[in-house]
Amino acid sequence: MDLHHFQVWLVTTIGGKSAIADLMRTAWAWPIAESLHFLGLCLLIGSIGAFDLRLLGVARRVPIAAVHRFIPWGLLGFAINIMTGSLFILTEPDQYIYNPSFHFKLLFMTIGGLNAATFYLTSYRRVFGPGASLDAPRRAKVIAAISLCAWIGVITGGRLLTFYRPSACEGPQTALLLTCAP
């Protein structure tokens, strides 16, 4: 199954017809979910961003492990956004699955996730272990810079969604991903 068929399959399978979709179409559900999505964004940037900045040398007198205690709040923000984001997709699947801005948002989320995994797999002991320096190793700094850029990319992709709404496809599509509704 190529990617175009996968996208069409996803949109038709989700269909936007469910109790959740009906709930989201009530007067205030969508704006409330959007507001929660923005609050989650702030939690994520305030926690994960603060940790990234610490790795890059901000507040360098504070032990890195101490700043890491903010991370669960960033994960809470991320969880809120996965949940509210899923509500949007379950209600209007075609508006996201065929939207190039959403594709970039997913790409940046993947980069952010793999980048965080790389941090814990490669730098955990040197950053948090006994005798850890107050100055993060260079590799951790590079990871922190990538993290900040990735999350800013996620925000950008999300904010621009509305300006790349897919229209109906005309003629054969040759791009990697469908960016129009067949």
Binding site: L43, G49, T156
Partner: protein, 170 residues
Amino acid sequence: MIDPFLAWVESTALSQWVVGAPTMFAFPGILTFHAIGMGFAVGISAALDLRILGVAPGVPLAEMRRYMPFLWGGFWLNAVSGVLLLIGYPTKALTNPVFYLKLTLIGIAMALLARISRQVFPTGGSGGSSDPPITSKLRNLAIVSLICWAGAITSGRLLAYTYHRLTQLH
């Protein structure tokens, strides 16, 4: 009913560029900067509030001051992008009571931040070593700060759904 001042703002080249320029750097780009600035301004203010409320106790409260430039960077990014959005759609914002609610909540949140900062960041820049005590009054300020930011964000988001008039012509 035409408001001459709002009609004039909407007739300026800047307003028309913000609204209508065929580039992602105009309205879409300004909105994007507004969201990024919000993440840093509100996010770091919230992190300071959470620290006061007991999160990350190993971080000396006074050292949170090192993050303040990023909070202010986000704040000024949003002041500038917000004014540009206002110049783009003055009627949409200024005829909507929710817009004044948003500005009021931001004002209260910033006043609370100033009060919290005075209490937790020792003046004189000596790099003070001992943290001020976290009083219940300080905790209450942090809680109200979080509530105000949540309200400001919600009312900001609701602007897209609650306006009565988009422009003087519509």
